[in-house]
């Protein structure tokens, strides 16, 4: 269940315009919350030794399969996070933070078998564990980490935003509106 935070976007916009330092601080706080879960998700990705041998990079491979291989370093590098708001999707929703699995091989490892089951010659050899809620939010990497996190990170992110809000409120009360005298940021 996605958490909806009302007014967070306006707060962030206001921070970026009138208190850029506080905005950065807020972003850093969120990043600090997201970093552990991202690291945990990276840990779920198999090493090259653990991955199916036929999926690894082969020397002298040509054609379309020359670049379609699993490399643990690339896949792990692809698991990242973003502490800044995303663009709105076609339904108008934006996320204030997100954890991504950007690499193609990482995405395959993440999602293989979540629709048709762990069958055939490839998917059972991947290992790992599909975890999550519903088909669209089940996976072996980031979704598993998110599932095992039990909503702690989500709560931490919201708390970080609230914390920023509290800081803004405190500064405003303390400084008598000094905060909003700041020059508009570039």
């Amino acid at each position: 269940m996605p958490t909806e935070v009302t007014g967070a976007l306006e707060l962030r916009k206001a921070l970026k315009e009138y208190a850029p330092s506080l905005a950065k601080e807020s972003q850093k706080e969120i990043s600090g919350v997201l970093r552990p879960i991202t690291a945990k998700a990276r840990g779920f990705l198999p090493s090259n030794e653990e991955a199916p041998s036929g999926w690894l990079k082969r020397e002298g491979a040509k054609g379309r399969w020359a670049n379609r291989y699993y490399d643990a370093s690339i896949a792990r590098r692809g698991v990242t996070f973003s502490a800044s708001p995303s663009k709105a999707n076609n339904k108008g929703f934006r996320s204030l933070a997100a954890i991504y699995n950007k690499s193609a091989a990482g995405a395959i490892y993440e999602t293989a078998g979540r629709k048709s089951g762990v069958t055939g010659n490839f998917t059972p050899r991947l290992g790992g564990q599909l975890a999550g809620q519903g088909q669209k939010k089940t996976g072996r990497g980031i979704f598993r980490a998110w599932s095992e996190d039990q909503g702690r990170t989500n709560a931490a992110v919201i708390r970080a935003i609230e914390h920023t809000n509290e800081k803004v409120a405190a500064l405003a009360k303390l400084g008598g509106g000094r905060l909003f005298r700041a020059v508009k940021a570039d």
């Binding site: 909806e4 967070a8 708001p85 108008g92 934006r94 996320s95 204030l96 993440e110």
Partner: protein, 550 residues
């Protein structure tokens, strides 16, 4: 690295700004589209209205043309008093037949000018409409065909398949033909109007009439708006307006000249006289614009020589043409007179022609039909009557000459060569061969072989003859000959031992030969020999012929 959209999204919020923006954009687009639609509708509507107005005026003028043509024809036929009747008839017929009046009027006109009777033309037009609907030909064609048939030319009616031959059409009166057409195509128009196509045509006609009416109204409104008295007044006003426009432009040009002159610093100290002079020159130039340019070879001073020469040439050409025409007429007259003279002379010459007189005398005598024809032919040849001469020649040739010649020719024809002539000898030869073979087979002619010429019998022959009969499996000479494939008719006992001994003794003493003791009769089976010969002569594969049925 290829980017995927696989992500865990945290703290999602609904940002309605984008949606509002999109809604706003859509609304704006919708409003723009509506506005554009209205503008386009107005523009297109104006264009369509203008086009319709043009079409309406055109339709009205076309209809007016047809009306004027028919009215003029009616007037020329001296039937002006029937004008109202005709208009009423056309109007009613247009409604009942769903054919436009601008089609009916020319058709009626053609029938009216042919018949000269309004009533007759009305009847024929009604018939033509039925025939047109029934046959599929357009009304103008049917009317033209009926008009031709009215004056005796029925060839055009053949295409309507009335069930009448060319001769029948030619022999029938027009009333009979009209009755036949009416019978054939009766009710065709009503049946057509009941169809969807007919209804559409009726609707189209109504629309067309509406257009014509609108066109008339438009023209009338233009006349009324202009304050003119009829179309002639409108034309006069248009001409006046054109003249006024020309005057306006000339005046504007003059004003421009005055302004240019006035504001030209060079003219400041020239005075009003100079201004008047310049203005007069400019006005004169305006008036002279478009006038005939000065031609040194053709002007008042030279007496317009070129024009005079052209006029003189034209006069000369006309005179020459008139002279040629006159000469031609005179020549024609002379030729006619000469022909008449020659004919008279020829006629007179016949009176003194001895040969002709002889023939005429002979014709008066008692002669046979053949002789009469011959004489008539001679006379026709003498008088130059080619048609009669040709006919008589044919008759004579048919009656006598040609029949006899044909018979003579046929009689003189040689016998046709018999293609099987050579077969007779061949078949005879085959018959002889067959007979010969059959005789040999049937009679089995016995031939006696003389042994006198046989060589003396040797000891080996004796031994062979004396060989035990049991070894050969024969007991008689007949059996023996049969065993070697020959037939013997008489049974001859084989010689005994004593016979052989005596024979040997005699032979050795030279007193006797084997022929003294042995007469061999050979009976030849001709059929077997013929079969053997046939087998030898034949080659190829066997053919099996089976008889089927009884």
């Amino acid at each position: 690295m290829a980017q995927t959209d696989l992500a865990v999204r945290i703290a999602t919020i609904f940002d309605e700004a984008g949606i509002k923006k999109a809604d706003k954009a859509v609304n704006k687009l919708e409003k723009s589209a509506v506005k554009l639609g209205k503008s386009l509708g107005l523009a297109l509507g104006t264009v369509a209205l203008a086009a319709y107005g043009k079409k309406a005026v055109k339709a009205f003028t076309e209809d007016q043309k047809a009306i004027i043509k028919l009215n003029n024809a009616v007037k020329n036929l001296g039937l002006s008093f029937s004008q109202a009747n005709i208009d009423d008839f056309i109007s009613k017929l247009e409604k009942s037949s769903a054919i436009a009046d601008d089609i009916l009027r020319p058709a009626f006109q053609s029938l009216l000018t042919t018949t000269g009777s309004v009533t007759e033309a009305q009847k024929l037009l009604t018939t033509a409409i039925e025939a047109s609907r029934g046959s599929g030909y357009d009304l103008a064609t049917v009317s033209a065909d009926l008009a031709k048939a009215y004056v005796g030319n029925t060839r055009g009616l053949q295409k309507y398949y009335l069930g009448l031959s060319k001769a029948q059409l030619a022999s029938m009166s027009f009333e009979e033909i009209q009755a036949k057409i009416n019978k054939t195509f009766q009710g065709a128009n009503k049946a057509y109007l009941d169809t969807a196509a007919g209804k559409m045509e009726a609707l189209s006609l109504a629309t067309g009439n509406f257009t014509e009416t609108v066109g008339g109204a438009l023209i009338n409104s233009i006349i009324t708006l202009s304050g003119s008295n009829g179309i002639e007044g409108l034309i006069e006003k248009i001409d006046s307006a054109a003249q006024a426009m020309v005057g306006f432009f000339e005046q504007t040009e003059r004003t421009g000249f005055i302004l240019r002159y006035t504001f030209n610093p060079k003219n400041i100290f020239k005075g009003s006289e100079e201004f008047q002079k310049q203005l007069q020159a400019f006005t004169l130039a305006q008036q002279m614009r478009g006038a005939k340019a000065y031609d040194p070879a053709n002007n008042a001073l030279t007496g317009y020589k070129v024009d005079q020469k052209a006029a003189a040439d034209a006069k000369k050409a006309a005179a020459l043409q008139a002279k040629l025409l006159k000469d031609s007429l005179n020549n024609q007259k002379k030729l006619s007179a000469e022909q008449k003279k020659q004919a008279a002379l020829k006629k007179a010459g016949t009176l003194f022609d001895v040969e002709q007189a002889g023939i005429l005398a002979a014709l008066n005598g008692k002669i046979s039909d053949e002789e009469r024809k011959r004489l008539e032919l001679q006379l026709a040849l003498l008088t130059g009557n080619a048609d009669k001469a040709k006919a008589l020649t044919y008759e004579l040739a048919t009656a006598q000459g040609l029949g006899k010649d044909l018979a003579a020719y046929l009689a003189s024809l040689p016998d046709a060569k018999n293609p099987f002539e050579s077969w007779a000898a061949y078949l005879d030869m085959i018959e002889q061969q067959v007979l010969k073979i059959a005789t040999q087979a049937g009679t089995s002619s016995a031939k006696t072989v003389s042994t006198a010429s046989l060589p003396p019998i040797s000891q080996a022959d004796v031994n062979r003859i004396l060989a035990p009969t049991s070894d050969r499996g024969v007991s008689t000479s007949r059996d023996y000959f049969e065993s070697i494939g020959m037939k013997a008719s008489n049974v001859v006992p084989l010689p005994t031992s004593s016979d052989i001994g005596r024979l040997a003794q005699n032979m050795s003493s030279g007193s006797s030969t084997i022929g003294d003791y042995l007469n061999v009769t050979l009976q030849i089976d001709g059929k077997t020999i013929a079969s053997a010969l046939q087998d030898q002569s034949l080659s190829g594969n066997n053919t099996t012929i089976s008889r089927t049925g009884s």
